[in-house]
């Protein structure tokens, strides 16, 4: 039997995140070939109740930590290091999300294991594990070989089917006492986002603007199209960071996940962080000056062109059809 697989269960505010099921599915697939046991590792405050959802694992290891709403990174690192030894595990899967961000590097540094980031694919090649990662905003793939199949791997969200990690089985639960750790970083509180004027998750059409919109003044062009269509304007990170639209309009990894009937991606290249938040839109229409922009690989309709030129024309056409 090969070294076991640890899957760090990701949860926030009492809900298991989808990435957890993606990781469990990926782990199950790896375990099928290697016969390695899959352990789901659940750390946090009042989390034992979540274990029932983790039936795809061979066992769930629960570490209750009453100290804080969010478990300290130091505690999670100590638990994983302890389990790497106790369970003779060789592989740790972590979510490539803001919650688990930075954990992989530190675990790898302390456990003297390699760390592979941005992983979208995993396959065994005899005893070696070949990890496929996406780099440069999804424009390049790279294969890295872990010769003995040991390492810490960050799974990019949306890369593995979540359904493969769901099961009705009741998994055996093991409790582990929280190891004593000193953490210099102290969690204080969660800050809920300020309610925006518009809930972009409830729109049937969204006009998404990215770097290609070029200036704050041009956002108005998108507002006019959204108004004509009865929808709202949202944005990718660079536009929010510039302060051209409020945080409540951000779509993507740190922002909101949206599924409108139509998502217009205007001057948005389609970086993985943005794609994560809008990929399940029913219809995606992309306009970008760069014919190689990754957004065109996933969109339903594409136009290579200047959004600033097309936007007023499109608004005009939409208005004309309404009259």
């Amino acid at each position: 039997m090969s070294a076991g697989i640890l899957v760090l269960v990701e949860h926030l505010k009492g809900a298991v995140a989808d990435i957890t099921f993606e990781m469990l599915g990926a782990a199950r697939q790896l375990a099928q070939a290697s016969q390695a046991p899959v352990h789901a590792v659940l750390v946090g405050k009042d989390v034992a109740g979540l274990a029932a959802q983790l039936g795809a694992a061979d066992a769930v290891i629960v570490v209750e930590d009453a100290a804080a709403e969010l478990p300290s990174t130091e505690l999670v690192l100590a638990v994983l290091r302890q389990l790497l030894e106790q369970k003779q595990a060789g592989l740790v899967l972590l979510g490539g999300t803001n919650v688990s961000f930075g954990l992989g590097v530190r675990l790898a540094a302390r456990a003297k294991l390699p760390f592979v980031n941005f992983c979208k694919g995993l396959r065994w090649d005899n005893r070696a594990l070949v990890c496929t990662s996406q780099l440069f905003g999804g424009k390049i793939l790279s294969d890295v070989r872990l010769p003995d199949g040991r390492g810490v791997i960050s799974i990019y969200p949306g890369s593995f089917p979540a359904d493969a990690g769901k099961s009705d089985k009741t998994p055996p639960v093991e409790r582990l006492a929280a190891p004593a750790v000193q953490s210099k970083v102290v969690f204080r509180q969660l800050l809920e986002p300020a309610a925006g004027d518009v809930d972009i998750t409830k729109q049937r059409v969204l006009v998404g603007v990215g770097r290609g919109i070029q200036s704050r003044d041009h956002v108005q062009l998108a507002e006019e199209l959204a108004a004509a269509l009865g929808g709202a304007v949202c944005a990718s990170r660079p536009v929010i960071d510039q302060g051209w639209l409020p945080l409540s309009r951000q779509v993507g990894k740190s922002g909101l996940t949206v599924k409108p009937r139509v998502y217009l991606a205007l001057g948005i290249s389609g970086a993985p962080e943005h794609w994560e938040g809008m990929q399940n839109s029913e219809c995606i229409i992309a306009i970008n000056t760069d014919p190689r922009a990754p957004i065109f690989d996933g969109a339903h309709f594409g136009v290579v062109g200047d959004v600033l030129e097309l936007l007023p024309l499109l608004t005009e056409k939409v208005k004309a059809r309404k009259t």
């Binding site: 540094a109 760390f115 440069f136 294969d143 210099k184």
Partner: protein, 260 residues
């Protein structure tokens, strides 16, 4: 306050990226390097803190053909020192870069003083081995927090109050004692603009220091077996024609979806 901003220039993904003949790296002939957005924000956050609390900001950047321009701009924006780190090593991974940076910081500045804050971009598009900031924090034995989008300092300057982003625009508030390493996602304000004339003036009066660091072996070094362009699972149906024609077709698609 002693602030160090660490920059790791990345290949500009807007340019066409090509694979080198070895099939395992990017073709260096066609790469144009740039700073990632997060690196720009790391400098801005440091400058905002300096405005409030004083002290010095040192920008340390790994060598890349275009990095001098970025360092001159940093000086023009208000950084006090600009240092270019030279590794003389092909395709160094993030773990190696972090080891080199840690060596540079500790060999030139000694142990981190209690008023030191190291700010790096939270992530980069070439972070195959993971992010620079947590590697650095591990080597230096300092606390670390990433995906940071706001930093304020306590009155005594010993503790940073840090906002970390989660999903859905949710943020967590943390306290981090200095010295510390932060991975900055975005500063509290967009990176400032600086006129070209000011950059030119700094180029005449200022200087970019150059420091060579010996290569350092790291256990996390990943060997890329193959690098390749993804085969898209699908591709958009591309609409062509004059802008007028394209707009008409788009309006037709929207109407077909019942939106008009």
């Amino acid at each position: 306050m002693n602030q160090i901003v660490a920059w790791k220039p990345v290949p500009d993904p807007v340019e066409e990226l090509a694979i080198a003949a070895d099939g395992r790296s990017l073709d260096p002939e066609v790469i144009r390097f740039k700073l990632g957005d997060a690196d720009e924000h790391a400098l801005e956050q440091a400058l905002l803190l300096k405005e409030k609390h004083g002290g010095k900001v040192t920008v340390v950047a790994f060598e890349a053909p275009e990095v001098d321009d970025a360092l001159w701009t940093a000086l023009a924006k208000g950084a006090d020192r600009a240092v270019k780190l030279v590794l003389n090593r092909p395709n160094p991974g993030t773990a190696e870069l972090a080891a080199a940076l840690a060596h540079h910081l500790t060999s030139t500045a000694g142990p981190m003083t209690p008023d030191t804050l190291v700010l790096a971009g939270s992530q980069a598009i070439d972070d195959l081995e993971g992010e620079l900031a947590p590697y650095l924090a591990e080597i230096l034995g300092l606390p670390y927090l990433g995906v940071v989008s706001g930093v304020t300092l306590s009155e005594d300057g010993r503790t940073a109050r840090v906002l970390k982003e989660f999903a859905g625009s949710l943020r967590g508030e943390f306290e981090v004692p200095l010295p510390a390493v932060l991975g900055i996602q975005s500063a509290e304000k967009p990176p400032r603009y600086v006129p070209v004339a000011r950059v030119r003036a700094v180029m005449k009066s200022g200087q970019i220091e150059v420091a060579e660091v010996p290569p350092r072996e790291v256990p996390q070094k990943l060997l890329v077996e193959r690098m390749y362009l993804p085969e898209a699972a699908g591709h958009a149906e591309m609409l062509e024609g004059t802008p007028e024609e394209v707009a008409e077709r788009l309006a037709g698609i929207l109407a077909g979806r019942g939106l008009i």
